[in-house]
Structure formats: C-alpha cells, structure tokens
Amino acid sequence: MVSASATKVEGEYSFLNKNSPLDQFEGVKTHLYYFGAEHGNDNLKSFACSERSDPNLLDTILLSQWDNFAWKGHLDYDVTACQLKVIEGGRNFVCQLNNKWNSFFLKEYDKFFESFGYLKPNSMKRYVLLCIAQGENDRPEVAPSSSPPKDGLLVIANAHPVEYGHVFLVPSAMINQVSCYGDKRMFQLATKIASEVNNAAFRVFFDSGISVVSDHMLFQACYFANPLPVESTSTFTVYDGKARAGIIVSETVDYPLKALVFTSNNLQALVSVVSEISSSLHDNTTAYSLLISNNGTKVFLFPQVKNLATGCSLSAWECGGYFVYHTKFDFDSASETEISSRMSSVSLHASAFEDLKHLCCAIADDLVT
C-alpha cells in the first residue's frame, strides 16, 4: 500500500516533466511521510498522542535526518556550539551568540527560493530532508521516495540554522511556481506537523514579511529546548468559543509586542480561524508573524508595523523572545530594555490592535458556528 501510493504520486502528477531539470529529483533518496487519514472527526491526536513505548515516528525522522545532515557537514556551522544565555530580568529573553548568522540570510533565502521557482533543483535537492503529505491509510506511514508529492510540504534544511533542527517547510507546489499563498491546506499541513511531531520543543513559524516573492508561502520550524518567553507570558481571554468549537482567543498582557493567542484542541477550527485572519491581514498589507506551539494547539499572532528605520520586521522567533547576536559585544550587552524597545517599535498601535482584535473575534465567531 505504501509503495503503491508512492508510485501513484509519481505516475499521476507529471510535474516531473521528463525534460525539466527536476528529473534529477528522482535521484534523491528521501523519505515521504504520510499522515494517517482523518475519519471525519477532528480527533487528530489519536495516533500522535497515544502513549506508546516507541519513539514518535515523525519526530524521530525529522530529528535524525537533520542530525545526519548536520554531521555530514552540509550546514554552514554547528548551531549546538553556539552559546546561549537567559537575559536578566523578568521576561527571560533568550539570546544566542552566533557570529556566523545574520539577518541577511533571510534575504539570501529569498533568492534561494526564487531559484527554487525557476527550477534549479541542483541547488536545493540535497537540502530536502523529507516530504510530508496527507495519506489515506489509518496509520501514518513512511515510504522511500524519489519524487515529492503534489499537495505536500517539503522539509528543507536551513544551512544557517537559528536553532537545532531549523528547517523550511515549503509547499511542493512552489516548485511548479503555482501560487499557493493563503492556501489553507498548507497552513493545515504545517499545523498538523506541529501536532504530529508531538514534541514540546518543536515550533513552527510563519513570517508574512519575510519574502519579497510574496506569493510564496514559506514556513520554518525548529526545536527550542526552553519555552519561548511569549509562551510563558500571561494572557487575557478576549473571545471564549470553548463551548462551541473549542477555540479561545486571548491577548498577551504586558508583553512589549502586542500579540493575539489562539488556543484550541480542534485543529480544523484553529486552522480555519487563523488562516482566515492571515488572509485578511495579507489583503490589508499588514506584516505579521505566526508561532505555532504547544504541539499544534496554540498559535501566536504578532501583527507588526513595518519599521521604516530598519526596513525589516522581527522574525517570528524574535517576536517570541529569542534573539541571535553575531558579536560577543552585542551578546554580552544585550538587555531586556533593548529587546523590549525593539519589540515595541514594531508593535501595532493601540487602535489598530483593537480593530484587529475585533476582527479576530468576529472571524472566530463566524467560523465556529
């Protein structure tokens, strides 16, 4: 069954045009992970959460593929050799000293993914660690594969990791230059990955402002051993839809960057609400970042004003309270005050945030009925 479905993918979807350079993709041995099928209900946790004595399958593949990749020397540096510290003060911001990392990489990655779009497989194929797609069988399964699935996500190693296990989650449709921005299914897959990995350290990120090629939908994910500061910050419930679809919208209290938090054990409801809000923000040309945490049951939304002074907004992990410094001096002198002011400089103004909050409550109310 596994091999049958893998073959089917190969045969049916001919985006692997024999004349295109993507043929070479077939030479790449990679794993294809299929989620177990859903049975009408949203009880997505049935497999991922079951208390088994075996290690979690998706978590294990992701971790081992990344570790193997790192040990083979394909990354620019060993992120585990980078020192971490917690900054003094009540918020426990975490910072990392990493002289090989800088935010320009984000722009380089734009080029990287542009080249992606122009079908330059040689530059990216070796970075593909895994493909993930929705399966049809009851249980999740893994098959060796040489071709990416049509409606899946490619897990691509980030050669400049910000933390252990840093990957891009790229819709495979992007290879075909098919715009999939705002594709709810991709957001659903990304959230489902967070859920299925079922490891508290695993977080998925999305930055609307990262890509100048704005039609591309690009998620990132990595493993943080500690909770991010925003995750431990106190929140205030602004919409309680627990009784209806189990979704709660809250806002952070006293966090320098205004944020909304969507919590639900119902993945479908969570995905519907957040993707609807995302597309409203996109239409509104509001920059925002998402942080999917707590095994896919919690989504933090950080709306941002474009900062004209620096020209770029904070990345999702920075919104969460995790910062990388590339000089020892900056690392040593990093302070809570400095970080807080960086955050509040991109934070939405009170009135705009109020509007967004009302919009979120309205969308949540609409969608869960």
């Binding site: 596994v2 794993h31 004595s53 075996d54 290690p55 399958l57 978590d59 294990t60 593949i61 971790l63 081992s64 593929q65 990344w66 570790d67 193997n68 040990w71 060993d78 585990t80 050799a81 980078c82 020192q83 971490l84 510290k85 917690v86 975490v94 399964e141 893994v142 098959a143 060796p144 933390e163 252990y164 296990g165 490891n199 350290a201 493993y223 051993a225 500690n226």
Partner: protein, 402 residues
C-alpha cells in the same frame, strides 16, 4: 599449619596498629570501637585512603565465622578471604562497586582461616563524609548463606584445605605484590578439587534483609560517634556523590526519549554515566543505582572487541560520532549484539559536556516503521542535543553535588 603464608607476611607492629586505629579514631570518638564491638555479626571496615586499602576494623563476630582473629586481618586487604574457587565475576563485581563507590550485594565463596570454603552474602556499602562526599570507609558485612540442602561430601573441602590455602595465598600475594608472585609455585590443577560440592548459592530474602539491617545499625553507630564537627557520616546513594545530578527539567526532557541510551559526563575523569534511559535499564538489567557513576565499560565482556573499543575511544578523542557493532553484556552476564552509536553532545554553553551512547540489541525484534536502525538511533541523539540546550534559571544543567 595452613597459614605459612600469613607468617611470611609482615606482622603488623605497634606502629602499624596505631596507624590503622587512627583511621577510625580520627573521624570518630574513641568510644566507636566499643560501640562497634557490641554489634553482633561479622563485618569489616576498610579504608580506601590507606595504601593497599587495608582492613581497619574487624567485628567480634568475624572470628566465629571465619576463624580469623582480629589481629590476623587488621592491615590486610579484604581479599584475603577469597580463594581459588571464588568466582572471578563476583570479585570483579565487588571491585567495580568499590571503584564506583556504590553499595553492592553478592553471594561469594569465601575461605576460612583453616582453608575451608563457605558461602557468604557479602554486603558492601561505602561510608561517605557528609560534608564533601568523600568516601571514608567501606563497610563489608558477611552473612553466612545457609545451604539449600546438605552437603554431600563434607570431607572434601577440609581435606584439600591446606593445599587450597596455599594456592589462594599465592594468588593473593600476586595481587598485592605482583613482583612477589614467584614465592609460590604451587598453582596446580588443584583449584577445582573438592569444590563440585560447592554449588553456587543464592541468598534468601531474609539473609539479604539481615545484611542490610546490619549495615544500617553499623552506620548509625558510626553516626552516633562521629566527631567530624557538624559533619556526620552517612550513607548516601551513589548518584549524589561524585557525579553531579541533572536538573529536574533536563531529566524530564530526557525521560521522554524512548530509545535505549546513556549519557556520560565528559568533565569528570573516566567519563561516568550520568543518565540512563528506561529502555537502557530494561535492555541491560542494570538499575540506575548500579550504573550511575560507572564507566560504560561495565557492559564489556570477554567477547567485546578491543579494536572496536579503541575505535570508539579515538572518535571520542577527536569529537567525532561513530556507529559500531560489538558484543555487550547485561548485568546477568548474557551478551547481545549491540549496535552502538556514540556521539559528543554540546551543552547550552556550546562545549562538549556529554557523550551519548545509544544501544540497540540487534538480536531483538524492533519495529522501525520501515526506517533503518541508524535513523532510530540518530533520533535519540538529536533529541538529546535539543534537550541539553535547555537553560535553567541558574544557567546550569546540573545540580551541584553536595
């Protein structure tokens, strides 16, 4: 008559006696000897800080059990009770426990002064300095193990007693003074003679409990008479001594990793095991009390390839990861084909502080969901890499040892 060997050994002089007595009286009041003398049973205290790790105290009950008077044993190493037919594995276990500073209980075939063998349950317990965690003494309690059935040839052991005594004397001398091995040339095939009658014995639960309760009352006597001002002598679990304990948050994260592995701590000499996963415990049969603080070589045995061990060593030295296939041994002595992955692990400061050793029993059935065992092992390695990047409020992963 059988003790010709003992006569050759330097009889402890007055000075020697004082030196041994000082081992106790320096740490306890002079009354400690009287207090210990009142305790029933056969037990010894040894001082690992003195050369040769000699016996510094022997109980009144020892003479009744072994035939050795106190003056016969003071100043000597406790291995004088061992003999030709004493199981090497049992002795190795005792040695390992001494080395790792942990309690140990084992049935062992000892020899009386007259050379006759007898089974005792040896209960060994380190006695720690509560202040700095140093080992002050080892306590060795000997509880005779009753025979399950009557011995069939009671005369055999006695008849060969003299010869055996000579044999084991030679063995002992060789261990104590390797260069003096030539003094005895009587190492003949006498070893096994008369010993068929002595099948290995298993201590009953009541004997085990008796050994433990004796040890407890001895330690509490030592406690009463401790004169280390404010620093009572106490028995502690080995994981709180010598090796630092992991922070509870790290323990929790590591506990979620299902594969069979141990972590060794690179910042201490001999890289002691600092964490063992549940799967490792069930794979090898060692308990955490057994294994924490030990070097991973406890899993080695006769068929463990030295070349492979050397290969691992080289990879560790060059901070490289390696996967090897070797023969490892469980606590019960049974062996298994071990697919072993060893990799250095950096902590949140970026330094290599740990090594992970992921063991996989190749003989057992595994469900890897279509993946290779290596993927399974690397998954554990990676999960540990993530876990040790955790920061605690104090900035350290380790709780300071006392």
């Amino acid at each position: 008559m059988a003790r010709s060997g003992a006569a050759e050994a330097d009889p402890p002089g007055e000075r020697e006696h004082r030196r041994l007595a000082a081992s106790l009286t320096a740490r306890y009041s002079d009354w400690v000897l009287e207090a210990l003398d009142e305790l029933p049973g056969s037990f010894l205290l040894t001082d690992p800080a003195l050369p040769g790790h000699p016996i510094v105290y022997a109980s009144r009950g020892l003479a009744a059990l072994t035939g050795y008077a106190r003056r016969d044993v003071l100043g000597r190493n406790a291995r004088l009770f061992q003999g030709a037919a004493t199981a090497r594995a049992a002795v190795a276990g005792v040695r390992e426990a001494v080395r790792a500073h942990r309690p140990h209980q084992v049935p062992i075939l000892n020899y009386r002064r007259d050379g006759s063998p007898h089974w005792v349950l040896l209960h060994l317990a380190p006695v720690f300095h509560a202040g700095d965690g140093r080992v002050l003494h080892f306590l060795a309690v000997q509880v005779p193990i009753a025979a399950a059935k009557r011995r069939t040839h009671p005369s055999c052991a006695a008849a060969s007693g003299a010869v055996l005594a000579a044999c084991r004397e030679e063995a002992r001398v060789e261990e104590d003074f390797p260069c003096a091995a030539h003094t005895g040339k009587v190492f003949v095939d006498m070893d096994k003679r008369g010993l068929e009658a002595e099948e290995p014995r298993v201590a009953s639960d009541s004997e085990k409990e008796m050994a433990i309760s004796m040890a407890e009352s001895i330690v509490s006597a030592l406690n009463r008479y401790s004169k280390l001002t404010g620093l009572v002598v106490s028995r502690k679990r080995c994981d709180s001594v010598g090796i630092p304990a992991l922070s509870s948050s790290l323990n929790l994260s590591l506990g979620r990793i299902k594969q069979s592995f141990v972590l060794t701590y690179s910042c201490l000499p001999d890289m002691p095991i600092i964490y063992a996963s549940d799967a490792f415990i069930s794979l090898t049969g060692y308990s955490r009390e057994d294994i924490l603080g030990c070097n991973t070589r406890v899993l080695n045995g006769p068929d463990t390839s030295l070349e492979v061990l050397e290969e691992i060593n080289q990879h560790i030295c060059s901070e490289q990861a390696c996967t090897v296939d070797l023969q490892s041994y469980r606590k019960d002595g049974s062996s298994f084909r071990d697919l072993l992955h060893v990799s250095p692990i950096r902590d949140a400061s970026g330094k290599v502080s740990f090594h992970i050793w992921v063991h996989l029993d190749m003989g057992a059935k595994h469900d890897f969901s279509g993946l290779t065992p290596e993927v399974w092992q690397l998954g554990a390695v990676a999960a540990v890499r993530v876990a040790v990047r955790g920061l605690s409020a104090s900035g350290s992963l380790l709780r300071p040892s006392q």
